[in-house]
Subunit: 459 residues, 2 copies
């Protein structure tokens, strides 16, 4: 039995114990020890109302972090089950950039009404961040950074650190030195401050030539900049060069991870944001895959045109020749849908979103999606053959039936082979898109011809 | 003009100025301001002996970091131009895990002889790390972490930080609390230490339940663990639970970035380690791509077998029918080689290893690689057709010529389309593998038929 499934079972058991007065205290204490990142992974697999019950038994900061880490669709379902005062408490304890992130899941209206309940200062900060464009650094930065004047001495800096309010200290390891215009003129670190005489000034300690990013800059390029230099935080400046916040490494890493996932999926012709596989509905899977498949399908009809040009289908082997015309179209649809699935599943396996024990759930989802995708392509293919190319009813029917059959087959192969590879301790990435395409070419052909043999009159 | 090319030109100009006595001092000062990560990117594009000259004008720590950041093949060429005493100085100033990383580029023999020159303590540490298995956390950790006993007071801790030697402080933001067996029982941070009365003990400050990794654990899974919890460092323990080092965020990020790249390439059926595109020779590109193409090619001959089964090629339209047999084989080879290239180039563009201005250099490399790949496949295809399937000489020749032509075409399209997309500010990932495959299906067909029309006798 795999460990994620075990953990989910444990979590559901914990929920039962929470409801029994004699055990609830012990269960609560156990719950407190679970890390938000782990819980976030588990709540995807349980009922939203159960997840909401569990969250309400936790410390607000811990529960809020579960929501920050969990996938969008899961959070959307859970917050529907949570009362406003609980959500307001979550927004209050979260760092502002994380609080703002919950806006998408809460919906604009509910988020706005919650902003009126939380402390005014926090609400104002959130509104300031929201004024920056989507996917810009400004949306993700924190305004709570630690800065000193160049003439400040180590003694003054240490005293400052000691008395400043707690939330000022999201990231105190880097100390920024700002001039009178609030421009960054240098940076130093806490450890350096601790190892020099207390009369040393910040100006004497600091390193100049600081790399900064603009608040309006694209988050992905800022994250790449940070990764490139191996920094853990970058100062963020406004258009006039005034420092307005810091962009921290954890946000940068999350952005890069999502960007990588989107890149991998794009290679396999799946569009859309990086959402964990299991949190997407069959309909959402369909929407991510079908547009690309359709575009490729239409493009592949060109292949048929080219073949018609070289081999006008009349004369002796007419049926065979016109069957051939549809070959690239049908094999292409199978190969492309197989590539999409294998890319998606391989990525989900690499990120640990899917484990081999999930195979039955995966195949059920994929089967449903393949019926939608294959059915749509089949209808279009049938119509195209019958009315577009004036193929006879028989062959048009063969095309219309072969398409869903091959898509179903390619999807099953494309989803199960990576999972089987993972279970056999082979790197699932070996089941690459070209591998699946080639496999489907050979086997899909058999499906196409066998359907034809049963429907077309023997010539 | 793009900025990487400008920077390379500037660097070469700087090198000239370094050699002129009147300007060398100013040039040296300018050089000192360049970040090692930027230089590492630029030295890929200049002659190794020029790069070596420039490095020797730099501070050892700065020069050594350029070598740490630059791609393997580039470093291998540069170190051949550097004398032993310079390299020994580099090994001396680098953190031990980075120093050990240079072993691959220096070669075992030269690395061993350098170990005898550097300070004995450093050499011993490197030998200890080298005893861990390849790709394990032990190889990447640093032994220089800061730890305290549970009964230590804040006053003692601060005094410790003040007097300890500099190299103990690679990562002092996290303070580990170890018991008498050197097991990690808690962790606290420098900022917490600074905000409590000086009589507070480490035991009172620390957070227990610390996430650790084993030194023998696989580096990628440890890096994923760190990313999952958003930590900046993880304590590393040996098999008995004794803390032996820390695994830091910069190493973890580098590992994840490489793993992602390998995943992306694998989706496009390119095997091998994550090496920057421009640092690979044509022969290396061939070696990464050909084995997969060959395997897929052999698999695709199955398609031909299936078609032969359903359509024995004799009778009236014999030529047309036997031409069809090779269709999936030829289109498959084109589609697969196109997928490989487009995946590789798209990834290189995403990482900034290739910029649109490089298009001419890219196409030159891809053309040479395609000649090798296509030529190999063409020979095999020709032999397979002539001797394996007893196709006539004419059609065998068509197959043997169409294969390299289509591979050349697919490779050109697969490399130029993502670059063109990037220049037009479209996301290059849109040029996905299925897109290229479909495009090559339609256009490759024309190449195949046109070659056939010129070689085969008219029927």
């Amino acid at each position: 039995m795999n460990s994620l499934q075990e953990k989910i079972a444990q979590l559901l058991h914990l929920r039962e114990r929470l409801s029994r007065p004699s055990e609830s205290q012990a269960a609560k204490e156990e719950l407190q020890k679970v890390r938000p990142e782990d819980l976030a992974e588990q709540v995807v697999h349980i009922e939203p109302e159960h997840a909401a019950e569990i969250l309400q038994e936790m410390e607000p900061i811990q529960a809020a972090n579960v929501l920050v880490e969990a996938p969008t669709e899961t959070v959307r379902a859970i917050v529907r089950e949570l009362p406003d005062d609980v959500l307001a408490a979550y927004l209050d304890v979260l760092p502002m950039d994380d609080a703002m992130d919950l806006r998408e899941e809460l919906g604009d209206d509910r988020f706005e009404s919650l902003l009126n309940v939380i402390p005014k200062e926090d609400a104002q900060e959130i509104r300031r961040l929201m004024a920056y464009p989507e996917e810009s650094v400004g949306r993700l930065m924190t305004e709570r950074f630690f800065w000193v004047k160049p003439e400040a001495t180590v003694k003054e800096i240490l005293a400052d650190i000691r008395i400043a309010p707690d939330e000022k200290y999201e990231m105190v390891n880097d100390l920024y030195v700002l001039d009178e215009n609030e421009h960054v003129i240098g940076v130093t670190s806490l450890r350096k401050v601790l190892r020099v005489p207390t009369t040393t000034t910040a100006a004497a300690l600091m390193k100049g030539d600081v790399v900064t990013v603009r608040a309006s800059e694209d988050e992905e390029s800022a994250a790449r900049l940070m990764a490139r230099y191996g920094f853990y935080a970058l100062p963020v400046v406004d258009d006039r060069g005034k420092m307005v916040g810091i962009f921290t490494g954890d946000d940068a890493q999350a952005i890069l991870r999502e960007a990588e996932t989107e890149d991998v999926l794009a290679v396999g012709a799946v569009s859309g944001d990086a959402e964990p596989y299991m949190s997407l509905s069959v309909w959402q899977l369909y929407k991510r895959r079908f547009p690309w498949l359709l575009a490729l399908f239409v493009a592949e009809t060109l292949t048929g045109q080219v073949m018609r040009h070289y081999f006008p289908s009349d004369g002796a082997a007419a049926t065979a020749a016109s069957m051939m015309l549809f070959l690239p179209l049908i094999l292409g649809a199978g190969g492309n849908s197989g590539s999409q699935v294998t890319t998606t599943i391989t990525r989900a396996l690499a990120l640990g979103e899917v484990v081999p024990g999930d195979w039955l759930r995966v195949i059920r989802r994929e089967f449903a999606t393949a019926l939608l995708v294959g059915g749509s392509l089949g209808l279009i293919g049938f119509a195209r053959a019958l009315f577009g190319w004036n193929t006879g009813m028989g062959l048009s029917l063969v095309v219309g039936l072969a398409l869903p059959a091959i898509v179903l087959w390619a999807t099953s192969v494309g989803s199960l082979l990576p999972i089987a590879a993972k279970r056999l301790k082979i790197d699932p990435a070996v089941m690459s898109a070209p591998f699946i395409t080639t496999f489907v070419d050979a086997t899909g052909l058999i499906i196409y011809f066998e359907i034809a043999l049963r429907i077309l009159p023997k010539s």
